[in-house]
Symmetry: C2
Subunit: 340 residues, 2 copies
């Protein structure tokens, strides 16, 4: 029995459902880690007189750094390190165990022999935000316009944007997202400070930095972070072995220089129910136009919708859907076949 | 050679120092994990019309949940799970690899056979904050007084409070903190929303919930979180096998009922340079008074200053000091001997 079966639910009903879900899991053997840990990329020191609203609360703090947790399997072989970058209103938790307690993609790819790196975007999760303007306004030292842009996605908005259903509360037919653990999923969501960050988003140079160090990593983005690996590649393709963009919010524009994007294989992956979503059907079209431009310039870009390769019912959070590990298996094979 | 040697520094000088530090590490064999993952404790849904400053940005969000990452060793044996709770202005990163890239206490205790649980306190790290009042003020719908209390500890303030030195920039003689990686340590610090959280701090019931599920865990706190395990025990001692309070900001008052604190072994641990610190020498005195009261009521409370058991030069961040693993070894033995 997986440990995960009892750690989720609080109510008896939920616990019972989780127990059933866990019992259906195949028990997995232990796996061996050569090393693990965490570190930061980037970051800069700033001075402020409003680190809090107390008197004499001036000094130096560090902001814009990017937290990275990594694990290196004992049998790493020659598989590329995989770098996971989460999307809007979420953190690196996206890639860890699912809301219903199944294995996350971080562990799946680790067990496949890939070193795994999981980021918290700048200003999210364990990557510090800059609250100094909140305190300056509270102290009357700055106008309210100086308050940072901090957005929190609502359950209702996420329901349709993540394609759990076409309208709030309705469920897409055959949906693979584990709705019985929906309350656990909502807890993954955090406020998004992206509008308060400098340009370029510090996550982009952090990706460049990490790729250079890893000497060949596959950058796997999701949603909001979709363009970041491409922006990193436009800075330098050094150390980027490939890009997997899962339902990217943006692909590079076809009119952009394609030079950086022809140097390694690229996969853009979409789930199900895309045609019914005005937002995501537009993204799919834009990414298809990018594919055509990149491939005309000699690139190796594929755009895949999961139903076309036999997976049905997938939401925007396909790495947490019930068939997430089947998709992961397919993706691992794609990476082996295309990136090596 | 440990992987950690190259992941820290950006400058050549720092990289060189790290290389030297890593070379001095003993290489460790791989270790085997039975299962790992993450989940949340607690959390409540709130409604707001100011989830962002855009029009129609109302809806439901979840706040006050507590993120927990866990790892279960393949050879867990009968050792108690250990729950690590970080202190002020920090996250669960505290217990992961050190600023100079050495093994963190999370991995050390895992390798000793303890299941390990690492929390991000409510409103910190991967545990969501509530930004709705920021947006309400920005939109002119609430007065600036409604802005949340968000404090960011300065490098300068932390330098003395964490006892790197008696005054800013000065270094305590024989200090064990790896100052050559100081820039990496500053990146661990994040804004603290504790003043914006409800009472009791949601981390406290989360600890109770976790202890009940784990049926016998050692709660290891640090600094700001020092009182939380005691507050959890005052709610219910169910599932609490022991408490290790590392330099707690508070111990229970001697006048409080000692009934919850006589049911399991308790260790209060301090580093070096305490006598020279007005803040920490006061805490040590308060905790000693608590010990006397608890033991008079039949408790098993020890207060230990590391120099008295042979460790010298330790800062407030003793789990990241150069001799952190020697201290961890001593602590593991204390836990084995006193809690079993």
């Amino acid at each position: 029995m997986r440990f995960s079966n009892w750690m989720i639910g609080i109510t008896g009903a939920l616990a019972a459902m989780m127990g059933a879900a866990a019992a259906a899991d195949k028990p997995l053997p232990p796996f061996s880690i050569a090393s693990q840990g965490s570190f930061f990329l980037g970051g800069r020191d700033i001075q402020s007189n409003t680190l809090s609203t107390r008197a004499n609360s001036g000094g130096t703090v560090t902001v814009d750094q990017v937290y990275v947790r990594y694990q290196i399997p004992a049998k790493a072989g020659k598989r590329h390190p995989i770098t996971f970058i989460h999307g809007c209103c979420l953190t690196g938790k996206t890639w860890e165990s699912t809301p219903d307690g199944r294995m996350g993609w971080d562990e799946f790819f680790l067990r496949q022999g890939h070193p795994v790196y999981v980021l918290d975007q700048a200003g999210r999760g364990r990557s510090a935000t800059d609250p100094t303007n909140i305190n300056a306004v509270k102290l009357g030292q700055a106008p309210v316009e100086k308050l940072p842009q901090v957005s929190f996605a609502s359950h209702e908005g996420a329901w349709t944007l993540f394609r759990f259903g076409a309208t709030n509360g309705e469920t897409n037919p055959g949906l693979q997202f584990p709705l019985e653990a929906q309350a656990e999923f909502w807890k993954q969501m955090v406020p998004d400070w992206i509008g308060a960050l400098p340009t370029p988003n510090p996550t982009v140079p952090a990706l460049s930095d990490l790729a250079t160090r890893l000497k060949g990593t596959v950058l796997v983005s999701h949603s909001q972070s979709g363009l970041y690996p491409f922006l990193a590649a436009a800075r330098s393709t050094d150390g980027i072995a490939g890009i997997v963009a899962i339902e990217p919010a943006n692909c590079p524009a076809p009119a952009d220089s394609m030079a950086p994007y022809v140097k390694f294989p690229i996969l853009v992956l979409f789930g199900d129910f895309v045609a019914q979503s005005p937002v995501w059907s537009t993204k799919l079209k834009e990414c298809s136009a990018f594919r055509d431009a990149a491939n005309a310039a000699g690139g190796k870009v594929e755009v895949v919708a999961l139903p076309d390769v036999g997976f049905h019912g997938n939401s925007h959070m396909l790495m947490e859907d019930r068939n997430s590990l089947d998709i992961a298996r397919w993706l691992a094979k794609w990476i082996d076949g295309h990136i090596g």
